[in-house]
């Protein structure tokens, strides 16, 4: 059996003040797997993602990435934020070259790498523009490009398309799948859209609040490209919606 790139073992998070954001999360991700975390707000999906990224510490259990316990952020786990997090003082090309330079690559090498990913992400026209001159969709392309340019083995995506309009979102979902197939990247993708999760993922992990925890996992075996209006797609959606809402009902009761 191939060893997982990531395993969370009974991972939990209690914030100072006693708020329990996540309890006993167990999750393994195989190399090249695309996993979506879904759930209502407060279900701990972002907390889990940020613990994998190393931005938050675990307060119980552990998170292991390729054999090593996570102790802090690192370039092997590239993060794509909903609000982009681009460096406003750098041009698009230099934003993408930022990671390689930070890791000690020569300027020439970093720029060559950046140029490759500028082209790959369809950003040639904007290579010398600054982030504030770009649309949200373009900014998110830059954010994905800089993670890829930094040789990340795993992409952690925190509702990356949540702030984009529907058309742009669909295009970026398509492009993300193309890149994912081409690179063999492992992806952990947080979303609150069931449709997005089922469209993208190999596996959907359903989470629930109060305290945040993993309640179900569903492997999606539909052929890609997936047809969001097919009956099979809707069957899965109905099934997962029931899992999501079962919990809401219990909360309300």
């Amino acid at each position: 059996m191939i060893p997982p790139v990531l395993s969370a073992i009974n991972a939990g998070k209690i914030y100072p003040g006693g708020i329990e954001a996540l309890r006993n999360a167990n999750l393994t991700i195989a190399p090249g797997e695309f996993v979506c975390l879904i759930g209502a707000s407060g279900c701990g999906k972002s907390t889990l993602l940020r613990m994998i990224a190393g931005f938050e510490t675990v307060t119980s259990g552990q998170i292991i990435v390729r054999g090593k316990e996570v102790t802090g952020p690192g370039p092997d786990r590239g993060m794509v934020f909903q609000d982009y997090g681009l460096f406003p003082w750098l041009t698009i090309r230099k934003n993408i070259a930022f990671g390689p330079i930070a890791r000690g690559k020569s300027k020439a090498e970093a720029m060559a790498t950046a140029d490759r990913f500028v082209s790959m992400m369809g950003l040639d026209r904007f290579a010398d523009s600054y982030p504030h001159q770009l649309s949200g969709g373009m900014k998110q392309r830059v954010a994905i490009g800089r993670v890829l340019a930094n040789d990340a083995r795993m992409a952690l995506m925190d509702e990356p398309f949540g702030a984009l309009d529907a058309m742009t979102r669909e295009r970026l979902q398509e492009e993300l799948l193309t890149i994912w197939r081409a690179t063999g990247l492992s992806v952990v993708f947080v979303t609150h859209s069931l449709e997005e999760a089922i469209y993208l993922a190999d596996r959907v992990v359903v989470m629930s609040p109060g305290p945040g925890r993993i309640v179900a996992e569903e492997r999606i075996t539909l052929e890609r490209p997936r047809d969001v209006s097919s009956p099979q797609f809707n069957d899965i959606r109905r099934h997962l919606a029931a899992l999501l809402h079962a919990d809401h009902a219990r909360e309300a009761a």
């Binding site: 952020p73 690192g74 370039p75 590239g78 990671g99 600054y130 504030h132 800089r146």
Partner: protein, 273 residues
Amino acid sequence: MSEAVETLPLERAPARIDATPLLRIVVPVVLLMGWWAETALHPGGLIPAPSEVGVALWDLAFGGINDDAFSQMLLPDLIASASRVYGAFVLAAAVALPLGMLIGRLRLVREMLEPTLQVLRPVPVTAWLPLSMIMFGIGPKSAFFLVALGSFFPILLNTIFAVRSVEPRLFEAAQMLGVSPARLFPKVVLPASLPGMFTGLRLGLGLAWVVIVVGEMTGVQTGLGAMIMDARQLSRTEIVIAGMAVIGVAGFLSDYAVLMLGRKLLAWSPQHG
């Protein structure tokens, strides 16, 4: 979206005349006319007419009219004041920028220095005048100190604010791309706070021009402030006003130059570019 709104009138009415220059001179013209009317209604009053100030300005610049102690002194006085303004400004910036970064980033330094600075800050430069003359003597050193003091606080406070308000997301982004915590300062804090520091520098330089007259009350022989003080003692109010006008224009041009520089250097910032 703003782009679309801005280009819209151009497309619809290409022949429209730009009224901006007109808008900009309305207030000065009204003020000048009010001043002129006031002096015309009260001839022999204490306020000189605009024409008298104009003549005084000409004589200050080129001489040939009064040929007194003020004639042709405009350029030397302007150079003396400008060198104090810029010299003191550079000194203030050289202290305030690093100090502001330290206060902004290091809790220890912040706790140690902030109370003292907050108490010193409201003390006006004029109140420092006597003490400054005791500490630095009568003359240019005192002037230098007072002007530097005037521009110090805006630079310091804006620098502190700038380095403290760097978006936390940018630290996360840099760290997940491989920047070590020790390298966050040069890689993130410094560039991210440049616009804020620039605002501080701009305000500081502006204030240096504001306090130059006070600074030159310290018994210096040259400078626009000294000129105004001399003229005041001789009741040469037209020279006082001419000096005020020169300071106003010099300060404005100096600020404009800084603004243009900022636009060039901070093209990436939506506030400056």
